[in-house]
């Protein structure tokens, strides 16, 4: 079955149809999405800024990360769920939307960046946990900042092109 058919079936389901036809459901889900993503971006940026040496320099990196990242994941789960509901209401439109695709690619890259950092960037963490991170960790932090900024920009751009 072609992807277009799958997406058509998805958006014809009862809840996606309800979201599309209701006056208040989409804005409400979108509000939850924005509230959650604001916390995702804020907590991730706190960790990124620690890696880059702009904030929380006097605290161990591991402490900042373990304080922030559980909230990041919780908020990300909510943002993703709300995002999927919004997507389901106009799946075909979003699928064909270039900013939406850009956003999904950046989300994937942000995920890959995080996995690589987790595997490679935190080796010898004990050597720099209280001090300046090595260049690789700074690059990961900078990439994350850039990707999340692009994700927000692309997300906003979706709203102006659908």
């Amino acid at each position: 079955m072609a992807i277009e058919q799958v997406l058509t079936r998805l958006q014809d389901l009862s809840f996606p149809t309800q979201i599309r036809e209701s006056d208040w459901l989409f804005p409400t889900i979108e509000t939850v999405h924005v509230f959650a993503l604001v916390l995702v971006v804020g907590t991730i940026m706190t960790v990124d800024l620690r890696l880059l040496g702009f904030a929380n320099k006097e605290r161990p990196f591991s402490q900042v990360a373990s304080e922030m990242l559980p909230w990041t994941w919780a908020a990300f789960g909510i943002a993703a769920l709300a995002g999927m509901l919004m997507f389901s209401s106009k799946a075909l439109t979003y699928y064909g939307n270039i900013p939406f695709r850009l956003k999904m690619v950046c989300l994937m890259l942000a995920g890959i960046n995080m996995v690589i950092f987790h595997w490679l960037g935190t080796r010898h963490l004990e050597r720099w946990d209280r001090g300046r991170p090595p260049r690789a960790a700074k690059i990961a932090g900078g990439a994350s900042l850039l990707l999340w900024t692009t994700i927000v920009a692309a997300g906003r751009w979706v709203g102006f092109t659908t």
Partner: protein, 161 residues
């Protein structure tokens, strides 16, 4: 009166210039959202400590002092980008009740943050000195969390009411 002001503002050269660049509003909104992300996270870090949801190795006064510059700098960025958006579409903002509620909540949140910071500057133990103060701190923290969420909610609903 406000209608006439909106009408006048929307016909000024600067407003017309912003309106005609279709990338302008999404770009300014993006900066606005990133600033909200930093502001809300800073506010919630302090609020969660006030409420007692989180504890870190650092005293509340230190946590609050570190968040202070982020809070006020991002508030200035939000004000500046908010003004740009208002210049571009005055009637969309100034005649909108969600916008007005949002502005009231911004003022309330700023007042709360100022109160928390001023008290802590006077005495780092201020919010933990007595059970009554701890209760007050919890109430203030909860209020800040709710108002913060309310600001984001009202902000998004400007587009719909």
């Amino acid at each position: 009166m406000i209608e006439q002001f909106c009408d006048w503002l929307s016909r000024t050269n600067i407003s017309v210039a912003f309106q005609s660049a279709n990338w302008f509003v999404p770009l300014v909104q993006t900066v606005h959202i990133i600033a909200i992300a930093i502001l809300l996270t800073s506010v919630y870090v302090v609020s969660f400590r006030l409420i007692g949801i989180t504890r870190s190795g650092q005293p509340l006064a230190v946590v609050a002092a570190k968040s202070t510059p982020w809070v006020w700098v991002t508030l200035c960025v939000l004000l500046a980008t908010g003004i740009l958006l208002t210049i571009t579409e005055p009637a969309r903002e100034l005649l909108n009740w969600a916008f007005r509620v949002k502005m009231l909540m911004v003022l309330a949140l700023a007042a709360i943050l100022l109160l928390v910071q001023i008290r802590l500057r006077r005495s780092p133990e201020y919010w933990t000195e007595s059970p009554a103060r701890r209760r007050a701190a919890r109430g203030i923290g909860i209020a800040a969390v709710i108002i913060g969420a309310g600001i984001v909610t009202a902000g998004r609903w400007i587009a719909y009411v």
